[in-house]
Every structure is written in C-alpha cells, then in structure tokens.
Symmetry: C3
Subunit: 155 residues, 3 copies
Amino acid sequence: MGMRSHTVYRTFTTQQRRQFVRITDDVAAAVHESGVQEGLVLVSAQHITAGVWVNDDEPGILEDTLEWLDKLAPPSWRPPANDVAAQLSPDPGDFRHHRGGEDNGDAHWKNLLVHHQVILPITGGELDLGPWQAVFYCEFDGGRPKRMVIKVLGD
Amino acid sequence: MGMRSHTVYRTFTTQQRRQFVRITDDVAAAVHESGVQEGLVLVSAQHITAGVWVNDDEPGILEDTLEWLDKLAPPSWRPPANDVAAQLSPDPGDFRHHRGGEDNGDAHWKNLLVHHQVILPITGGELDLGPWQAVFYCEFDGGRPKRMVIKVLGD
Amino acid sequence: MGMRSHTVYRTFTTQQRRQFVRITDDVAAAVHESGVQEGLVLVSAQHITAGVWVNDDEPGILEDTLEWLDKLAPPSWRPPANDVAAQLSPDPGDFRHHRGGEDNGDAHWKNLLVHHQVILPITGGELDLGPWQAVFYCEFDGGRPKRMVIKVLGD
C-alpha cells in the first residue's frame, strides 16, 4: 500500500468572542478529498487561544460548558461569575500575561483545558465517529482570523 | 516500506456508573496483531461521556482522581461534594443539557478534562510506554454498552 | 510514496520541581533528521507526572498557568493557595496515592489537565505550527531523570 497525505487549512473569523463552530463536515470533506481509506486525521488549532472538542451537537451542553469554563478559567475582562471564579483568577488581580497589552489570558487556559487538537480515525474511507460525536472548533478569543489545520495521513 | 493499518473495536458495559478499566494489554494485543514495527496507535472513546487516560495503575490515585473530578465536574444526580463543587455546578441549578431527559452532563465535562483519546508510539513492534504508564478507559456514564476504537498505523 | 519513521528520546532532569522547558527546536530537529516531508510527529511524556503543552513562549502566561494549576490540582507538600485549593484537595487530607510514600499526587492531576502529549503536523518537510505556537515539556515533579519520546511518521 502507498501512503497518502492531504492538508487543508481553514480560517475562522467568528462574530462572537467565544463560539463553538461545528466542523464535522469540513473534516469529512478533507478525508474524502484525500482518497485515504485507512488512516488518521489530525484536526488542530494553530492558535493558542482556541481548542478542538469532540462532543455532542446539543445547544444545552455547549452553553453549560462555556459557563463552566468561565468559572474554571475566568476572563478578566468582566467580573468573575462567583467566588470560585474569583479565587481561580490570577493572584496579582490580572494576568501577568496582560502586561503586554493582551486581555485573553483566560483563552490560553481554556486552550489548555479543552486541548487544541484531536485525532480521528478513518476506516473504509470514512471518518470513523461514534453516533453522537461531533467535531467543534472552539473559539475563545474570536472576532479576528484564526487558522486551523486538517491533516490526513494513511493509505 | 509499506504501510499497514489495523482496527479493533472494544465495547465496555461497566457494572458501575463510573469505572477505570485498564486496557494496556488490549492495546498491546492490537499492536501485535497488526504486525506494525514502527508507528502510532490511536486509542479513542467513541462516546462523549468517557475518556482515555495514561497514568499509574495504583488504586489510590484512581480513587483520588474520581473524587477530584466530581468536584471539578459535579454530577447533578447527587448533592455537590462541597461548596466549590456547588459553585462549579450549572447556574440554572441543573444542566441545560438535562432538559432533554439526560442526567449525564457531568460526564460530558469529565470527557473534556480527561480527553477522549491518546496516541501511543510503537517502536520495534512493541507499545513504547514509560515504566509506569498504563492505559485506562475511563467510563463516566456506564452500565450500558459503550464503544472504543484502537487504530494502528505504521509499517 | 514510501513511509518513514524516526524516533528520538529526550531525558530531562530539571533543576526545579516544576518547570516549563521549551522544546520546539528539538521537535523541529527530529523532523529534519527524519527526512519526512508530509506527516505527523508525536511528542509525548513517558512519565505520568509531566505534560506537553503547545502555547505561547511568554513568561507571564507560564507563571499565570503554574499558579492556576496549583489551585486546580493542589500540591499537598505545601499549604493550599486559598480556600478553593483547599476544597479541591483530597478529602482524606492527603492523597490516597501518598500512602505508598509518594508526595506527587498533584503532578498526576496536572498531567491529566495539561495532557501528556501532542501531535504536530509536518508539511513540506517542516513543523507546521501557527505563529505563536511553541512546544513545552511541562515538568511537575522534576529533579530526577524523566523521559520523553518524539516519534515522526510520514513520507
């Protein structure tokens, strides 16, 4: 068997600062274009304030999750959601990272929690996902162009 | 060199709602069956309420970790463990996700924290793990059949 | 096309107990040595108390992140940072894991949060990273030799 690879870049400029963008079909299209029958596909944010999550395409859980991430990794551009969020905020009062003029420290932390990438299996020429697995690009500092790569490898 | 791939599905129906299942030997068996000498193996839950973790096969740390995950990602089907768990629970009192009749919102969050997959290296025909690295399927909403995929790629 | 693979091990003995070590150049060197033009490279800790993170090489965010991880995954070898850290500590007062004489339970939890590995794309013979993506080996229980593997696969 011979190895094939295929690379697709996607750029997202979300309207909202934080947004979950369903990209299952984009990944499936890249797999079909590649002609790979058996292999792996990497889906990876190329910025450090975004993530990729495989979960349920159900609005309730997405809303629950953003609310929760804002407690675990609290933005400093608005008041903390509650006392736990206040205590999980940086001890100097604001992120040390913001000394350079940034305001997106919380998005770096959300990148850590969500993880910036997934690898999906390709079987019989198709993306091999479970019944409720949808792929989301998770923007935590949007409103500007952010790049993501889809890389297919297999035969 | 020629590329090889090999795919194995495993279905778990755990007795407990939450359970860590050691699967190192299953992954090693899939690697041996594949005949791959140099490559990568993806181990990935195909459900959105489970994870895969590489850590220590030591009962204490597994018990510590489940207790901790229940604080960070609190179940709504029992009282929160403490005040932090209460504040990290969804603000509407229950998960928005549960409006459809579900009760497993916390398992979606644990899936996010643990991550649903790992990639392990294969070197010289063997799973290339460190001395204390064991592979666990982490069930957070069990008692029903849940599928996992092992996909080997290499030569 | 023919498949190639290349494996490099790195051992870190950090001076500090916890330390972020930038390894982008090590990964790029392994890619160049492999001769792979299109493929994937796995960068994975082989210990269970370390992680690998792709983020910003900016001292402020690294300091913010370690402070924050010490609240979410509190060490038991020093007093908790605040009340949230105290409540996220194990309920028995110390980690069950420490009954065997260890004191690094918090490092296992940080391994879970950060994740122990990343997969990076290789395109046109180069590591295909975004403009601010740097690769860090994240040591959470250092001062002794800890191994990491870099595994390149592609053609």
